[in-house]
């Protein structure tokens, strides 16, 4: 069933887009991430122009994060204060990201940059998570208690100034790394069309030692606003948000997310992290393949 996308100016199969949204929504609900890092590459594989895929992906992330954050709101597992500080950094990073995005687009290196950032980030994050979760799984098998948060053990981050207390997360840390993480993720979010959950979650767990139970909710809470801001910035600067495409993805996505969240509850934390790591690595490999293997045609056309 064909549907015409008014901004992408092309006709796509509606069922394919809905299914794409649902599949990604299922995975995002399961792992507690927005799913932007899957949606954007999938749209690009489906011949949606990268600039539109990125901006529309960000719009879709808003819907799936709202849907996911509502679950955590009910459970009370969102640290609003931490989320807000992350957001302040995120807005700054996102503004810079949209500017770099427009610049790269005009010199014709946007696709390359987006692919490189994806491969590097997904590869690193996926690899680290896989190693960590496999270790955790081994520990669980040998009977040792997993110890992600070791009280009393502080790294260099905890020695920085401007400390702030985050009651819900039971933390007393400097705002510098919090703002920094927010800014880096905001920057990447606007270039990659992602919310950044897959970087945010490990960063909060491993760098800031935020308790795992509040990480997902807080990350989703701040992603709502970073992605919303990214959407508006892209829409204003580049006019690349396709609302029809975004809506189809959202409908598929929010439906899939609720089922995914339920499936996720049946798995253990380490198992979930290992699976997410494999998924992230698979996307990285697929993108690296495109980058390093001779393309079907070395020529490409763009409008001016």
């Amino acid at each position: 069933m064909g549907i015409y996308l008014p901004i992408a100016e092309m006709s796509v199969n509606m069922v394919v887009i809905l299914a794409m949204g649902a599949a990604v929504g299922f995975l995002s609900g399961m792992f507690g991430v927005g799913g932007g890092f899957l949606i954007t590459p999938l749209l690009i594989f489906y011949n949606i122009p990268p600039a539109i895929a990125v901006a529309t992906g960000a719009n879709q992330v808003v819907a799936s994060s709202v849907s996911g954050a509502l679950v955590h709101l009910k459970k009370g597992t969102i640290d609003f204060k931490l989320g807000t500080v992350l957001l302040v950094g995120g807005i700054a990073g996102s503004t810079l990201g949209a500017w770099v995005f427009a610049l790269l687009r005009s010199v014709g290196q946007l696709d390359l940059f987006v692919s490189l950032v994806y491969v590097a980030l997904l590869g690193t994050v996926g690899g680290l998570m896989l190693v960590e979760s496999v270790r955790a799984l081994q520990r669980a098998r040998t009977g040792a208690t997993p110890a992600l948060r070791q009280p009393g053990q502080h790294n260099w981050i905890h020695r920085l100034p401007f400390k702030m207390r985050f009651r819900q997360s039971k933390m007393f840390v400097s705002v510098i790394p919090v703002l920094g993480i927010g800014a880096v993720i905001g920057f990447l979010a606007s270039i990659m069309g992602v919310g950044g959950g897959f970087i945010m979650i490990p960063a909060l767990i491993y760098l800031l030692k935020v308790p795992t139970n509040v990480v997902v909710g807080t990350s989703l809470f701040q992603i709502i606003f970073t992605a919303a801001y990214t959407t508006i910035v892209h829409s204003t600067a580049n006019q690349t948000v396709d609302i029809v495409l975004a809506f189809l993805l959202m409908v598929g996505g929010v439906a899939g997310a609720q089922y995914g969240a339920r499936a996720g509850q049946k798995l253990r934390g380490e198992q979930l992290r290992a699976l997410l790591a494999l998924l992230v690595l698979a996307v990285a490999l697929r993108l690296a393949f495109d980058l390093f293997v001779r393309p079907a045609s070395v020529y490409s056309l763009t409008g001016l």
Binding site: T231, S235, Q265
Partner: protein, 266 residues
């Protein structure tokens, strides 16, 4: 070479005189053939369920020679040419093992689409030199480089790549047998509008050939527009980007919230 020319010339003159004499003898005021085309509509709207379409153009020959028509020696080529826009062609080369856009050429007046329908295979209608002269066919359509003084070899390479990419995306297409004669002087052309057909003013052109010789051309305009909703969305995105972005975000909030209520599973 010179010899052949020398013998040919008197022969040619003889033929020409013969023809002239004959023509004068048959009909003192012979009217040359001409071609007319008519579109059933001057605008095609792209609605949300658009997934490509066939466009039919009817046409007629005036003052067709019944003899020639009966022998099927009239040929018609109909072209639908999309609006011209500038296009950048980029070429990837291998840098550090990665395929990266390194070279580019800009062309200023590239027709966004170019679809051709013919009565017969193109090589059976007339010769390549004629096609080139008429700038007819995807490989002959005029595309002007922005940098006119560029290296001709590179420009040739990039303009060929442009045509090849356009063909691959279905925007440059050719349909042999797409023009059919319904009677001796009435024909119908069926052209394909690709799912990604560009919006804007398109020009339909019909070329008439007789015994491989180009006789006459005629053209008509066709506007391809987005339908009401699609057009409004596009306008809003272009003219009110900020408000459009806010609307997109609100839509996402509502969808996310409704999705949570409808599909709640915990």
């Amino acid at each position: 070479m010179r010899q052949i020319k020398a013998c040919k010339l008197p022969f040619l003159l003889f033929i020409l005189t013969l023809c002239a004499v004959e023509a004068r003898a048959q009909a003192p005021e012979i009217v040359p053939e001409s071609i007319q085309i008519g579109l059933s509509t001057d605008r095609v709207t792209i609605t949300s369920d658009f997934s490509g379409a066939d466009l039919t153009i009817f046409g007629a020959l005036d003052n067709a020679d019944p003899m020639v028509a009966r022998q099927g020696r009239y040929d018609v080529i109909v072209v639908l040419e999309g609006p011209a826009r500038p296009v950048v062609v980029r070429k990837k080369t291998r840098v550090l093992g990665m395929w990266i856009n390194t070279q580019s050429e800009t062309f200023v007046n590239v027709p966004m689409s170019y679809s051709v329908a013919t009565t017969r295979a193109r090589q059976d209608i007339t010769n390549t030199a004629n096609y080139k002269q008429l700038a007819l066919g995807a490989e002959n359509v005029n595309i002007t480089p922005y940098d006119r003084n560029g290296d001709p070899v590179t420009l040739e390479e990039f303009s060929n790549a442009l045509r090849e990419r356009k063909k691959a995306s279905g925007l440059f297409s050719e349909r042999i047998g797409g023009v059919q004669f319904l009677s001796q002087n009435l024909f119908r052309a069926t052209l394909h509008l690709a799912p990604n057909v560009p919006v804007g003013t398109h020009r339909a052109r019909a070329f008439l050939f007789k015994n491989g010789v180009f006789i006459k051309e005629n053209s008509a305009q066709l506007a391809i527009l987005k339908a009401g909703f699609e057009q409004r969305v596009y306008r809003a995105a272009q003219n009110h980007g900020f408000l459009y972005g806010i609307a997109a975000v609100l839509l996402a909030f509502v969808t996310g919230w409704l999705g949570r209520i409808i599909f709640r599973r915990d």
